[in-house]
């Protein structure tokens, strides 16, 4: 018990000393990945390298495997029964399906969902949930983390006076930004976003896009979106998926201006999808 606490303090001291620097790198390398839901072959031979501290967008029609791939990066597919995964997933330099430390992985790889899912507790407790999971109990330390995370999510000013109010009382857009702050609270190197703005109005969407632009300075963002303008606006790299295959992957500019594959071109021009 004592040793654990000492370790925890040491870890947090180290974090303080080195600022945002962490032990793990922030890139993702996937090679020869295949995924099956029972008999259904959902991802086919995926190879992709996601660069650190950039925004990478996954686009493609519904059911093409974007979200499935995203959920591989923090092993959320483990929740799905009959899901079989093959291939190598190097997240931060570590083969995540060989390691048993799923919770540690999810600390380093945060996730934001399609629908805002704040817990039915106070704003403060929502943000402090992750740090508390990893054993941080001191009020002062938690206060610091909550403030930092809310500042990173550009919400500190609007929420600092209602930290003890229920998070369910916030508007949909605020709830989603709170979820981003909650994910930032564990200081992840990577954040996954699964259509984070599809349930929101245009103004809230704009705020979240702005936020993504600012967090990419210290975090890798992988985002699934149905909105092609959004991908074009915010991402540095874009991958186009079709029927479980990664059809094309490259710099966003190139994908939208000079797509190499016929399918990509047709999808971007809006001829199907």
């Amino acid at each position: 018990m004592l040793r654990k606490r000492a370790e925890g303090e040491e870890r947090s001291n180290r974090q303080k000393k080195t600022g945002e620097e962490r032990l793990f790198s922030k890139d993702i390398h996937v090679s020869n990945a295949n995924l099956y839901y029972g008999d259904f072959h959902a991802l086919k031979d995926i190879n992709i390298d996601i660069p650190p501290e950039r925004v990478t967008a996954f686009i493609g029609p519904s059911g093409c495997g974007k979200t499935t791939l995203l959920k591989c990066f923090n092993r959320m597919n483990d929740l799905v029964p009959d899901c079989k995964i093959e291939g190598e997933f190097l997240v931060g330099g570590e083969d995540i399906y060989k390691s048993k430390d799923v919770t540690g992985l999810r600390k380093r790889v945060g996730m934001v969902f399609q629908k805002p899912n704040p817990f039915p507790m106070s704003v403060y407790d929502n943000v402090a949930y992750g740090p508390r999971t990893f054993g941080i109990k001191k009020r002062a330390e938690l206060d610091e983390i909550v403030e930092r995370s809310l500042k990173q999510a550009a919400m500190w000013e609007e929420l600092k006076d209602r930290l003890n109010k229920s998070a369910l009382g916030l508007s949909g857009g605020q709830q989603q930004r709170l979820c981003i702050a909650r994910a930032l609270a564990t200081s992840p190197g990577i954040i996954l976003m699964d259509e984070p703005t599809s349930a929101l109005d245009p103004i809230s969407t704009a705020k979240i896009e702005e936020l993504i632009g600012s967090i990419k300075e210290f975090t890798t963002v992988a985002i699934v979106t149905h909105n092609m303008q959004q991908a074009a606006r915010i991402s540095d790299k874009t991958g186009f998926f079709l029927l479980g295959e990664l059809v094309e992957y490259g710099d966003t500019h190139d994908i939208f201006e000079r797509p190499q594959k016929e399918e990509t071109k047709r999808y971007i021009e809006g001829r199907f999808g």
Partner: protein, 606 residues
């Protein structure tokens, strides 16, 4: 990290173990009841037991010589089945039509009122039904009876019918409301009247759900004990007419258990065994009906029921629906008002807080104490076990796990076992285990087992209401399963779990049969501790109502019991509503407040 994995494993094992306990409990009930009945059955023979038409326990003749008794339960078997069938006729039809009324002929506040009526009726203790039967309905029926005494089949059927009514009504209502609205609209679009659309299209579509409701009603009627004992007359003979005295199997056990000799005792356990067979049959039928529902019903010979086709007949159905609902409301109102009028004036200080003297003054204080102790102990046991089992079923076990099917079967059995059989079970297990004498602890343990299905189902329902996205959110933040369950899922489900706890309190207050052979078979003085005997309020009412000496006290006791149970039910309903609000109500609440604001503005403007 290793440590947290061990913690997760331990959690899973604990949850699975509690779930396995349910299977053990269900199995133990069967094993003990059968084991205890074997000696008697081998003496009389199974055939003579089941088909013998004379029940005359061992006795001494006038010269003090022992007379070998005969133990045939056929009259009681027939009695139970006849009473159940008649009760189904009364309660089943009343329940069905009320459900139709609730789901298709009323809206808004009216619907809320009638739904509460059904819930409240479901919570009324069985002794109160019996008491009301003796005091109010019996005098009415006596006027019709040729010999001026109406305790018997008709009275029992009416009382039993009213008791199964809430079960049938609420489950049928759920089935009717699950029918897609499009069926109803489709029928209207084809030119049906509203009544025709309801009775020709919606009702047949909800057939399997309604059948399930009826089967559960039958299960409840088969197992009902205390109310029946109070109104059936209880002579061990075949029912010969509407006003003939008869005896059910459950009544047989209550009446004779207290002074039974060895063989007689065995025969009573065997009677319990026969009841268990009926339970097993209803559970099997139920799973058959519900699995058919899942498979979309049998195809092939589907004929519209031509009887329900015509406009006039469907209109008659509507009239029946309205009348049934009104009748239920009137019955509940009569029950409450009657008990208040008769009971409140007799609530004296002596009765509430005085001391109890054997054969002299009566006070309900010892019973209140005994009831509170029973409630406390049984909740401490049943709540953690039930909640852990529900967590295992809903959070850990996959739906395809064969273990889960066995657990669900065990829970169905536990909820179907008649309360009197729980009494028998408690008498041979917990009473023996705790030193062989009646005690509050033994009674509490018995009722804890009985509470398990209630707690598990209510908890599971509230766990299911917690959106999946919250669990995902916690897991994605690196929380383990245990942490997710305890910090996110359980707190979100808390109102539902509180409702389950309140319902359990109500259940303990209203049960009486399981306490008769575990806590003491006569009125007990102030309990000195958990190991001394006790008489709960409901049991006290049963004893008082049998003695004409204490009529006023009986009324007062019934009034107190009724009020407590009603309050608990209202509280449970409020807690349940809070749960709904937590997840769906956010927007609605805002809308409401906006509406209210608009109203206020309108008022200000004149």
């Amino acid at each position: 990290m290793e440590k947290s994995r061990i913690k997760e494993m331990c959690g899973k094992v604990v949850f699975a173990a509690t779930a396995a306990l349910c299977i053990a409990a269900a199995a133990a009930i069967f094993i003990f009841i059968i084991m205890k009945s074997v000696p008697a059955l081998s003496e009389t023979g199974l055939g003579n037991f089941l088909f013998g038409s004379e029940w005359a326990p061992d006795a001494n003749d006038v010269y003090g010589q022992p007379l070998a008794g005969s133990y045939g339960i056929l009259p009681m078997l027939v009695g139970t089945l006849t009473a159940t069938a008649c009760a189904l006729l009364v309660g089943g039809s009343l329940g069905f039509f009320t459900a139709v009324f609730l789901s298709y002929y009323c809206k808004g506040r009216l619907k809320a009122v009638f739904s509460s009526v059904i819930n409240l009726l479901a919570g009324v203790p069985s002794v109160i039904f019996g008491f009301f039967g003796i005091k109010v309905i019996m005098p009415l029926f006596n006027m019709l009876s040729p010999n001026g005494n109406s305790s018997g089949l008709l009275l029992t059927s009416v009382i039993l019918g009213m008791m199964i009514f809430p079960t049938v009504a609420s489950l049928s209502k759920t089935a009717l409301e699950a029918v897609p609205r499009a069926y109803y609209e489709g029928a209207l679009a084809l030119g049906d009247t509203r009544d025709q659309a309801v009775f020709r299209t919606v009702v047949p579509a909800a057939k399997s759900g309604i059948t399930a409701a009826m089967i559960l009603g039958v299960g409840r009627a088969l197992g009902e004990t205390m109310a029946v004992v109070m109104v059936a007359g209880n002579s061990p003979q075949f029912p010969r007419g509407l006003f003939s005295s008869f005896r059910t199997m459950t009544a047989n056990i209550v009446l004779e258990m207290g002074y039974a000799g060895e063989v007689q005792m065995g025969a009573l356990f065997a009677t319990g065994g026969v009841l268990l067979v009926f339970v097993a049959i209803t559970v099997a039928l139920l799973s058959l009906v519900t699995s058919e529902k899942k498979n979309g019903g049998r195809g092939g010979k589907k004929r519209g029921i031509s009887l329900f086709g015509g406009r006039k007949i469907c209109f008659a159905g509507k009239v029946f629906s309205v009348v049934s609902a009104m009748f239920a409301l009137a019955f509940l109102a009569a029950l409450i008002i009657y008990l208040l009028i008769m009971g409140l004036p007799h609530l004296s200080g002596q009765l509430l807080f005085g001391s109890y003297e054997y054969g002299g003054e009566i006070s309900i204080l010892p019973s209140v104490a005994a009831t509170l102790m029973t409630v406390g102990i049984s909740l401490v046991i049943a709540l953690p076990l039930g909640i852990c089992t529900a967590i295992f079923l809903n959070e850990y076990a996959g739906s395809k796990n064969p273990f889960v099917r066995v657990i669900r079967g065990a829970i169905d059995v536990l909820s179907g076992v008649p309360s009197i059989v729980y009494g028998l079970f408690g008498a041979v297990t917990f009473v023996t285990l705790l030193g062989g004498s009646y005690s509050i602890a033994a009674g509490s343990l018995t009722i804890s087992v009985m509470l398990l299905p209630t707690v598990i189902r209510a908890t599971e329902e509230s766990l299911r209401a917690v959106p999946m996205s919250l669990r995902e959110g916690a897991l994605a933040l690196g929380a383990g399963k245990l942490r997710t369950v305890f910090t996110v899922v359980l707190p979100s489900a808390m109102p539902g779990i509180i409702a389950a706890a309140i319902l359990s309190v109500g259940r303990v207050m209203s049960e009486s049969a399981p306490f008769m052979f575990t806590m003491g078979s006569s009125i007990q003085p102030m309990p000195e501790g958990a190991m001394s005997g006790g008489t709960t309020l409901a049991v006290l009412l049963y004893y008082l109502s049998g003695e004409n000496l204490y009529t006023d006290e009986a009324y007062a006791c019934a009034c107190v019991l009724m009020l407590i149970v009603l309050l608990l039910n209202v509280a449970a309903e409020l807690a349940g509503r809070a749960l709904q609000k937590k997840f769906q109500g956010e927007k609605n609440a805002k809308k409401k407040s906006r509406r209210r604001r608009a109203l206020e503005q309108a008022k200000e403007n004149g």
